[in-house]
Symmetry: C2
Amino acid sequence: MGAVKNKRMPRAVREQQMLDAAVHTFGQRGYRAASMDEIAELAGVSKPLVYLYLNSKEDLFTACIRREAKALTAAVRAGVRPGLPADRQLWDGLTAFFTHTAQNPDAWSVLHLQARTHGEPFAAEVTAMREEIVAFVTQLIVVAARAAHRNPSLPEREVAGLAEALVGAAESLAAWANTAPGVSAKQAAATLMNFAWAGLGDLMEGRPWAPSA
Amino acid sequence: MGAVKNKRMPRAVREQQMLDAAVHTFGQRGYRAASMDEIAELAGVSKPLVYLYLNSKEDLFTACIRREAKALTAAVRAGVRPGLPADRQLWDGLTAFFTHTAQNPDAWSVLHLQARTHGEPFAAEVTAMREEIVAFVTQLIVVAARAAHRNPSLPEREVAGLAEALVGAAESLAAWANTAPGVSAKQAAATLMNFAWAGLGDLMEGRPWAPSA
């Protein structure tokens, strides 16, 4: 019925509707349990049309991963304004990250959980996105170190390690925030920002980091 | 041939040899590519004996995950002595973690990469281990907060978030340290300890955390 109603919709628009339905279904039910019937029904199209446009369940899932990886990376980049101080850039980036993962829990489940769990080709798609984000965070830390020192004493390898640690912490916290009841994106961002900027030592002393107004 | 030579070896010992061979093979070649032939040959036993003892490739892989998860958790617990100051306990725990993952790169690849990538039953085994480690780290942070304040101001949810962040950072850093050339366990532990204890803010100011002698 939906297929008939939507007859004149351009292919690109319909594909996005299929991907919306697929991300929701994969995120809620998991890759294996999700059926092409459910996805087609939710998208309001016939199952043959989904196969015609996206070819197979594997290709549909890959298309979901690529679209959502691109959206997440774009959201983080858009949140950060290069001219601001380093701590502000980090805070803005983390806030953008946690806001996006909180507003798109199914997409985050697809990227963080489903894509990693169902075979190497899917996992490789996520690895590519992760490398891009690590490179972006590395750059942020390098800029912060340059701002703090005329001759930065943080060796390149140390910076690379810090970026890996920060991205790993953010991934872990996003998965937790989306399942723990009542944790907002802002709270998750503040927890990680306090941790990353002030460290546990300062937190223990009751001196948490706070964004400047 | 090995099977004949080892005829009088007790079953438990032989099983451990099979698991050693399997962890190495799964870690080096990946779950899908690893063959039961290779594993049997490396263990010096016949393939039917591997099936007799471990039943199937799936069961063998599950046994590997369980053994290595137990070994990693035990190594971290053994590294931490409860009487010491909080920062020392955290440093000892991180050092034990990175030492174990560096000395057992195949085991870490099985736990962090292979087990998560090849289906939900395997991933669930690792999730159970992860929850145990998060609970352990949560307890460490609670003790540290109590030591710093008579009435700790860190709410329970904040502590849970910090533990998730720290464990995520450690996982990410261990994977990186095992692939980046020339990063030692001590360096990885120091990077994360600096990050976790002093925070990026202090690092930028050139005030890294250092273990007391």
